[in-house]
Amino acid sequence: MAVVVVTEVARRMRRGLIAWAVLLWGISRLAGATVLPEERADLMYHSFDGGGVTVSGPSLLVRKNASSNTSVYYNYYVDHVSSASLDVLVGGSKYTEKRVEQTGGIDYLHGKTTTSLSYTSSVESDYKSGTLNFNMSQDFFGDLSTLTLGYTLGKDTVAQHIHQGTTSLYPDKADVTRQNYRIGLSQILTKNFIMSANWETITDEATQINNSGVTLNNPYRSYSYFDSTTNSRGFAPEKYPSTHTSNALAISGNYYLAFHAALHGRIKFYQDSWGVSAVTYQLGYTYPIGNWILDFRSRWYTQSKASFYSDMFAYKDQYTFMARDRELAAFDSTGLGITATWNFARNGWGWIDKGSLNMAWDHLQFNYHDFRNSLAGGAAGTEPLYSFGANVYQFYVSVWY
């Protein structure tokens, strides 16, 4: 069975790659002009705190031109996770984890085409991931339009951590193959208005299923069912499908206001093969004052539940696929945020052309429509609906050279 699955995946990947390669060659034939990304370095500290979870760490991004038509970059990113979320407390106790992500990439300007290639490695004790990313972009129609095509191939190995005394073991692994297909068009409409549309299709496939039946799910999470022998909730390991395909379309616009400010709007539609539909609305306003730039933003997000999600199933093994991940529940989320940027050395300082100090704060609120706080007490299935607020902070310094 596994051989059949792997052969089918390989066949689809080959077909997809050929089609995408032909399209990428096609846009490379279009005429236009473009430039390499700016040479800059950014050092950031980030922090998420909400729902019993804190995730924080540094991120360093350095970009440098290797020649007149080649730019290279490197990103080192760390998540220090300390989690006592509701899902974690239901299945066990608080844990800490570290994730290190590293990305190396190159952008190559040939004639009037920018070709980008990057590789990302993400390592946790029980989750390893490698991602190859390819993009090609081209300006045309007198540089009023920019067309972008991209393809991503990712391989994940998802293990299950088992304690045996003081030893950590990872005997059971699932393999996941991810593929992304992207196409985007950016269009200058007036001297003050630019719009863009981006489409992305993502497919995930569990190419190796572990002995516990883990496919695309988090191996530590459980679904809930009504245990009639105790008149309370029972819990059992989740059962997910082994494939997942999603489509997303985002349309955004940026408008320059006469008094030197800018308005930003964005809407994103999402649907997937698990029955989830979602819409994201974002509105932003950017206003510079002297050496400062202030960004104000708001975000509203709503999604429906997955077809195999339930807060509590009627009995154990009721269906083939069963999940209680709150990420697959119906919920809405709102967010308000501000970034304050202070520009320094605007006329250069030593080898630095200019620099900026940035502080960002976002407050998010998540309200679940069918995910209950099963630790709050009360009869099974009648506990209060779960909700939580979170604060997200970013502090970073950027220099251009």
């Binding site: 993400s122 989750y127 985002a250 940026n254 994201t280």
Partner: protein, 73 residues
């Protein structure tokens, strides 16, 4: 395959677009080139925000950022 053929024909038609006369001339694009026109002008921040949302909702894609890994729970 039919979709691919249609796309290729469209791309072929676009070959003649190199001589297109833009209705917004290059010297009229100073406002568009202003950094305030790009709310995601700092990649280190944009990538972080995309990852932060991706791990807390079902919706994904058309966002920028394509790395793997979890860092969730």
């Amino acid at each position: 395959m039919r979709v691919l053929c249609i796309l290729l024909v469209c791309l072929g038609m676009l070959q003649g677009c190199s001589s297109w006369q833009p209705w917004v001339k290059p010297y009229q694009r100073a406002n568009l080139a202003d950094p305030i026109m790009n709310p995601s002008r700092d990649p280190v921040s944009a990538d972080y925000v995309a990852h932060m949302y991706k791990t807390r909702q079902a919706s994904r894609g058309a966002q920028g950022g394509s790395g793997g890994g979890c860092g969730c729970n």
